[in-house]
Symmetry: C2
Subunit: 113 residues, 2 copies
DNA sequence: TTCATAGTTCGGGAATATTGAACTATTGAA
DNA sequence: TTCAATAGTTCAATATTCCCGAACTATGAA
């Protein structure tokens, strides 16, 4: 019998190449106040678990939060890796900036409270 | 009997004050390839009727086009005025730039084919 | 008038988003 | 080892939004 237990250690998430991300998909991911808040928090931190990346105001259900992070992942904005039982999210800042120069800067600058 | 015919000459569209437009609404309006194409055309023209503002590739049904323009209007991106039987659309560039400095520039610069 | 043009609005089906509930995986403690 | 707690995903049902054909309104021209 083959030992298949290793598959549980396979990477859980797929991350797109930035060159495959169209502008409208990136903008769509950022066109939501909760996701904007998440990106803003990640921009100011080295890496955050899902619950730590969540916007502090407006409590978001965890399934909703998970979906928001999936949307950001699909747009090439964040990379998620497992660490213990937490999923650590990191902003793919350099790659995103190379793909869309100046875009994230402009958006974050305009996201001030 | 009151003469009510004048109401047909009332302004047809309402345009938001830019300070009332939240960032996520503006991004949402721009997070669509057809609407991006419309904005790009308006950025390069003084004023365009709805059908002239339509993206040249991908033919868009006129009701869909009308809704796209309504979305852009609600986000403070365009101003629409009637001229004869055409509706002339103008990009509210200065106002939008004052509200969201650098945002439209960054988006249009990244919208190049 | 009447016709054609330029668009808006309405309504229903298609596509997306939200979220409670069930589930998986990991850690720590008994 | 087991058991419970934690951190998150996935599923499925509901809610919302979007798309677009059809009907409608307004204007200009014949």
């Amino acid at each position: 019998m083959m030992n298949l237990s290793y598959i549980h250690r396979m990477p859980r998430f797929t991350h797109p190449r930035l060159e495959d991300v169209p502008l409208d998909l990136a903008l769509h991911a950022l066109a939501d106040s909760n996701r904007l808040a998440i990106v803003a928090r990640l921009a100011a931190a080295a890496g955050l678990s899902c619950s730590n990346a969540a916007p502090c105001d407006a409590p978001v259900p965890k399934s909703t939060l998970s979906n928001h992070l999936k949307t950001l992942r699909a747009a090439g904005l964040i990379e998620t890796t497992q660490s213990g039982r937490e999923m650590i999210n990191v902003l793919r800042r350099d790659e995103f900036d190379r793909r869309f120069p100046g875009l994230l800067d402009a958006i974050l600058a305009n996201n001030a409270v």
